[in-house]
């Protein structure tokens, strides 16, 4: 029986960086800050929609 190569060993890491690399934008400069910014915008939208729901119901 022939030994087989472990395919997994040649595969890349699922999370190749910690988010500190440059986005190339003036702001936000790192990917981590961009993801946090997207999260904050989401919270802002939910707050606006909730306020709309409460104000006009």
């Amino acid at each position: 029986m022939t030994p087989t190569v472990d395919k997994q060993s040649s595969l890349p890491d699922p999370a190749p960086n910690g988010g500190d690399e440059d986005t190339g934008l003036a702001w936000p400069r790192t990917w981590r800050s961009l993801y946090i910014f997207v999260g904050i915008v989401f919270v802002g939208w939910v707050a606006i929609l909730y306020a709309l729901t409460r104000t006009f119901s």
């Binding site: 699922p14 915008v41 119901s57």
Partner: protein, 581 residues
């Protein structure tokens, strides 16, 4: 529609398609044909990803959802920003580093051929049917309202998409999508502005919101934890996140868009563009529907928005009971209009008691109107068997045809066709690529030149285009169209996502375990869909979780069986055999 409308419609549609073919003429190699020129900038990727998802159904059906049920549908998209962040962090770097043409090619490298074929097969099945719906959905609505032949409308939009997708490949799809989406944005904003302009004099924007809210059309967020409610914050955040993860992360029609990026950075930024704009875009379209509801409080709407069968029946039978329904509907609508004016005056005067009384009266009148509409649908179905009962998909197009000036009608119809073409071309491009790369090239044993695969890809794109057209010509939809598409996706997407998440995060699981885990999980999801009555978004989580858990369990069973065999047989070869499973 008059000659100006047709000029705008055909000018924009054929102009954009022709430009796409002209700009991409002479592209011969497989990489450029399937992945574009690999130089696409972030904004273009963002627009392309958005245009692929936002088909004509989004722009036709979503305002109807807003009109009928309010803003609650926006919650469906709450999980999308988080899914897109995960895809940008985890999925895209892997796809780009492994330099794959399709997402399923990665499964072949991570697991084995049968898992790759399963992933590609589920995609082809689901997206092949979805491509039929992409063409059928706008065609049924437009043909009914415009009086066009349904088959000709389907063939017209379908064949244009097939021609330029086959001729220009992925680059033509990216290129045309940016112009098509520009037309869509211009048209939708113009319709919104005209609608605001047509609201009655003296009714401010805040008054309009108050009226819409008074009829529960602005209930955008519902934090209740009921699994039976179709749209809640939690089903949208969790189920919607899994749906978006599966759609944007594993559906080749989307993967192909961001793999055309000039760099990892461009692909990621394109996705973040969507993460920021998806919720506001859906909110804007739903708000348009809620404001249409306000508009029709002061303008008499048709009893049923899908009025072609109704009008024909009334014209055929002058003594039809439908006429009595029309008169009663107009009477009640007139009464309600007077009550609403009192309500607004009371609001302006700050008389909360009078405002509350008028609101209660208006709500009663609305219930009577709803009852009349239900009765009208029954009577119409009795008189014309097979007439479509639900009419929410017709609300926006009815407004366009009845109230927009000529030229703008053509522009808005062009919006629907542009959305059809952009979504359809991306789907065909992905179906052709997947069939070529994951089936044909994979199964091809002899060496052949690259041009052979370009020709094969063109052939498979045409083939899928014809399959989609055939499906579109033979289906009859009864439910709200955008829901039908999401339900179809939710039944299949969860399991496909489960395969990919297993590949990324469960390093011990191998091909055989994930393959059978996925097969069993897909059967389970289909069985649950026909037996449980829960929001369809939950099937994304169920399918994904079942696939991952089943794969782990099977891997454990296989490993245990192997360990037992090793202990009986002994030897390094047996250990290697176990590891290979």
């Amino acid at each position: 529609m008059n000659v100006y409308d047709y000029l705008v419609l055909f000018g924009t549609m054929l102009g954009i398609a022709g430009y796409g073919v002209w700009r991409t003429r002479g592209r011969r190699d497989l990489r450029t044909y399937l992945k574009g020129d690999q130089g696409t900038r972030a904004l273009m990727i963002g627009l392309s990803v958005m245009a692929t998802q936002a088909s004509a159904i989004t722009f036709l059906s979503t305002p109807g959802q807003g009109y009928e049920s309010g803003l609650g549908f926006v919650q469906n998209y709450f999980g999308a920003p988080f899914a897109l962040i995960i895809i940008a962090m985890v999925f895209v770097p892997i796809y780009r580093r492994m330099n794959v043409y399709t997402a399923y090619e990665y499964l072949g490298q991570r697991f084995d051929a049968k898992t790759r074929l399963l992933g590609a097969g589920l995609f082809l099945l689901q997206r092949g049917l979805g491509a039929g719906l992409t063409v059928y959905a706008p065609a049924i609505v437009l043909s009914t309202v415009m009086g066009w032949r349904l088959d000709m409308t389907i063939l017209g939009s379908g064949l244009v998409a097939i021609v330029y997708t086959v001729m220009g490949g992925s680059e033509a799809v990216n290129l045309t999508q940016r112009y098509q989406f520009s037309i869509i944005l211009i048209g939708m904003v113009a319709a919104f502005v005209v609608l605001l302009h047509k609201l009655p004099a003296g009714l401010s924007f805040t008054d309009s919101l108050a009226l819409a809210g008074g009829f529960h059309k602005l209930e955008a967020v519902d934090f209740s934890i009921s699994v039976n409610k179709r749209y809640t914050f939690w089903s949208g955040l969790l189920g919607g996140m899994f749906l978006a993860l599966a759609y944007f992360g594993t559906d080749q029609s989307q993967v192909q868009r961001y793999l055309s990026g000039a760099s990892l950075r461009n692909s990621r930024l394109g996705l973040m563009f969507n993460a920021l704009l998806k919720i506001p875009m859906q909110f804007f379209i739903l708000l348009l529907g809620a404001l249409l509801f306000v508009f029709y409080q002061f303008e008499l709407p048709p009893v049923l928005f899908n009025s072609a069968a109704w009008t024909a029946q009334v014209a055929k039978e002058p003594q039809s009971p439908l006429r009595a329904i029309e008169r009663e509907f107009a009477d009640v609508h007139g009464q309600k209009k007077r009550v609403l004016r009192r309500w607004i005056e009371a609001r302006h005067a700050g008389d909360s008691v009078a405002a509350a009384a008028a609101r209660s009266e208006a709500e009663s009148a609305q219930k009577r109107l709803d009852a009349i509409r239900t009765e009208a649908q029954k009577q119409l179905l009795a008189a014309v068997p097979g007439a479509k009962g639900s009419d929410t998909d017709y609300v926006f197009i009815r407004f366009i045809v009845d109230y927009l000036p000529h030229g703008m009608i053509g522009l808005l119809v062009a919006v629907f066709f542009a959305a059809t073409l952009s979504a359809k071309s991306a789907e065909l491009n992905a179906l052709g690529s997947t069939t070529t790369i994951d089936l044909y090239r994979h199964l091809m044993r002899r060496p052949v030149p690259e041009e052979h695969f370009v020709a094969a890809s063109k052939f498979f794109t045409v083939m899928w285009g014809l399959v989609a057209l055939g499906f579109a010509l033979s289906i009859h939809m009864a439910e709200n169209l955008i829901q039908a598409v999401n339900i179809l996706g939710s039944v299949f997407y969860g399991v496909v996502l489960g395969i990919f998440l297993t590949a990324f995060f469960l390093k011990t699981v191998r091909g055989t375990a994930v393959f059978w885990g996925a097969v069993v999980s897909q059967c389970l999801v289909i069985a649950l869909y026909f037996t449980l009555h829960i929001s369809y978004l939950w099937y994304n989580i169920i399918g994904c979780a079942a696939c991952m858990a089943m794969s782990l369990l099977l891997q454990w069973a296989i490993t245990m069986r192997g360990v037992n065999a090793v202990s009986k047989m002994g030897g390094a070869d047996a250990v290697n055999d176990v590891a290979a499973l």
